[in-house]
């Protein structure tokens, strides 16, 4: 068994790297807080799972930034982000303005705005990825599968060469560049 990651920085660095141990630790320490709050506020356990995972993705996305710094603890951050995401969701559903702050009074105005920026950046990122995915769906085979294998499934060029029947990894790589060129065409055409 691995020892728990000691400092929050270590934990975040490991999270940014996509390490499972770090993810599990953050999950264990924070999930019940968010789910407890949400259920008290009328959400279901499914909502809680979705919400917390979304907040984790926001944190993950933020941890990728080069100049990344967290001005509060991971727990405070996740809780604040979860609340923002939830209120946004309620707002979308009701199509009416909903106060973005509840009366728990544990975040000041500036902090609230910073969280809002992070949530907005996250939403933009997700939209961007969706557009990319849409373009990826249009490029046809074998390009689609090849790019997915490399970028989504993190397979090596050796594995891909074997799987797609290229004589060597270099041929597979040449094909990958052709596919990327195609993706570029479709992606930017879609944005115009």
């Amino acid at each position: 068994m691995q020892s728990p990651l000691n400092t929050e920085q270590q934990l975040l660095a490991a999270l940014a790297d996509g390490q499972r141990v770090a993810t599990e630790q953050i999950y264990r320490q924070n999930y019940h807080i968010v789910s407890g709050w949400l259920i008290k506020n009328g959400g279901s356990s499914t909502d809680a799972a979705d919400l917390f995972q979304e907040a984790m993705v926001v944190l993950f996305g933020k941890a990728q930034e080069e100049d990344f710094r967290l001005t509060c603890s991971i727990g405070t951050y996740l809780f604040a982000i979860s609340k923002h995401l939830w209120y946004k969701k309620l707002q979308r559903q009701s199509r009416e303005p909903v106060a973005l702050h509840d009366n728990t009074g544990d975040e000041d105005e500036d902090g609230g705005l910073a969280y809002e920026d992070d949530v907005n950046a996250h939403t933009e990122r997700e939209t961007h990825y969706e557009q990319l995915d849409a373009a990826l769906e249009q490029i046809g085979e074998p390009c689609r599968s090849l790019l997915k294998a490399y970028y989504h499934k993190d397979k090596s060029m050796q594995e891909i060469a074997a799987e797609f029947g290229y004589t060597n990894p270099d041929n597979a790589k040449t094909q990958k560049y052709k596919c990327l060129a195609r993706l570029r065409k479709i992606f930017y055409a879609g944005l115009e």
Partner: protein
């Protein structure tokens, strides 16, 4: 790698990966500065590669998260209260039910009562199914040999357990805690939930226990456990009518299709209910899932029925059990447990807004929990 002869994609990839030598980096920067068209293309290509690879990273992270969630929620140890170890037969039904739940949408709950099997699509009970952990549960069941259900019956006021399985609506029979809801809200093909709580308009939870029920008419009478509990400041403002309401009677209902109470109105469009059921009414009344167990009132503040089901998704047809089914059930109780139904409606002459205001305290969400 020669900066001038290498494929621009390979260059961008090496640049992003940080695998270029110092010399190569210098050469690249020179070319970027000298050739604006090349610089633009290089920029666009780098952005694309970065996006595709970040998007992949996010996807892998999401799928890991999902996995972590499943393994962590599966690993939560049950409290050391009373445990019932389920027999293998039971897990099989729960995993089949979980499978069904995955296939149906989150908010739709097809009644699976045997007598209704053939017609389930035309007759949908309107409790709200909360699929929650069912997906995780199905996976977990494959591995786990024992599923322990925590039946915490201690008298201490405890917050509700975290997994709401189903929600419906209930309304008071007496001010001191007796209330009625649809039986299918608290009992379905998986049996009873572990616990039932009501949540009033202030958001407070109170645990409740089953007093009696009639599965056929779909009526359950329950009582809030808390001693000295009162729904509202005064006795019930509405009364129950034993008489069959007339065709065309304007009716309204209050219920909890979501976390907010909702009002809707309509009229009795059929003297009998689903497939001629004489204990029911057919209504033209828009309702949503979660409103099973809602009171059906006429304009004078008489409860004429209790909502149980609605027709096919695209219809506004709704079915309600007549109030007589409730009073009949009450009469079967030993000594009627001192349940005295109010004799007169206090809201008969009020405008609708005031009627609703008076009724709100006596109408609440019913939440069924199950691990």
């Amino acid at each position: 790698m020669s900066v001038n002869n290498t494929n621009i994609w390979e260059l961008a990839e090496a640049y992003l990966a940080g695998s270029m030598s110092k010399e190569e980096q210098v050469a690249l920067h020179q070319r970027l500065n000298a050739d604006a068209a090349f610089a633009r293309e290089f920029q666009e290509i780098s952005n694309l590669i970065r996006s595709v690879s970040d998007s992949g990273k996010h996807k892998r992270f999401r799928s890991m998260l999902h996995n972590v969630h499943q393994s962590q929620t599966a690993a939560v140890p049950a409290k050391k209260a009373r445990h019932i170890i389920l027999t293998p037969e039971f897990w099989r039904t729960t995993s089949i039910a979980a499978g069904v739940a995955i296939l149906t949408s989150t908010l739709t709950f097809w009644s699976l009562k045997p007598s209704l099997n053939k017609t389930e699509k035309r007759y949908n009970t309107i409790s709200r199914e909360v699929t929650g952990l069912k997906i995780a549960q199905a996976k977990q069941l494959e591995k786990q040999k024992q599923l322990e259900i925590d039946l915490d019956k201690s008298k201490k006021p405890a917050p509700p357990p975290s997994d709401v399985k189903k929600t419906g609506t209930g309304f008071a029979l007496t001010n001191n805690g007796y209330f009625v809801t649809a039986y299918h809200v608290i009992h379905d093909e998986n049996g009873y939930g572990d616990s039932v709580y009501i949540q009033n308009r202030e958001g407070q939870y109170f645990k409740a226990s089953l007093v009696t029920f009639n599965a056929e008419s779909d009526v359950a009478i329950m009582k809030v456990d808390k001693a000295g509990f009162r729904f509202g400041k005064s006795e019930l403002p509405f009364t129950f009518t034993g008489l069959k309401a007339d065709l065309g009677t304007h009716i309204f209902t209050l219920g909890y299709p979501a976390d907010e109470i909702a009002y809707s109105e309509g009229y009795i469009s059929g003297r009998n209910g689903f497939e001629g059921n004489i204990m029911q009414y057919t209504l033209e009344l828009p309702v949503g899932h979660g409103q099973s167990g809602s009171p059906l009132l006429d304009g004078k503040g008489n409860v004429v029925g209790l909502l149980t089901a609605k027709g096919a998704e695209n219809e506004v047809k709704t079915y309600a059990v007549s109030a007589k089914a409730i009073t009949d059930l009450l009469h079967k109780l030993p000594d009627e447990k001192n349940i005295k139904l109010p004799k007169a409606s206090k809201i008969g002459r009020m405008p609708r807004e005031q009627q609703i205001d008076k009724l709100e305290a006596y109408t609440f969400a019913v939440k069924v929990y199950k691990k």
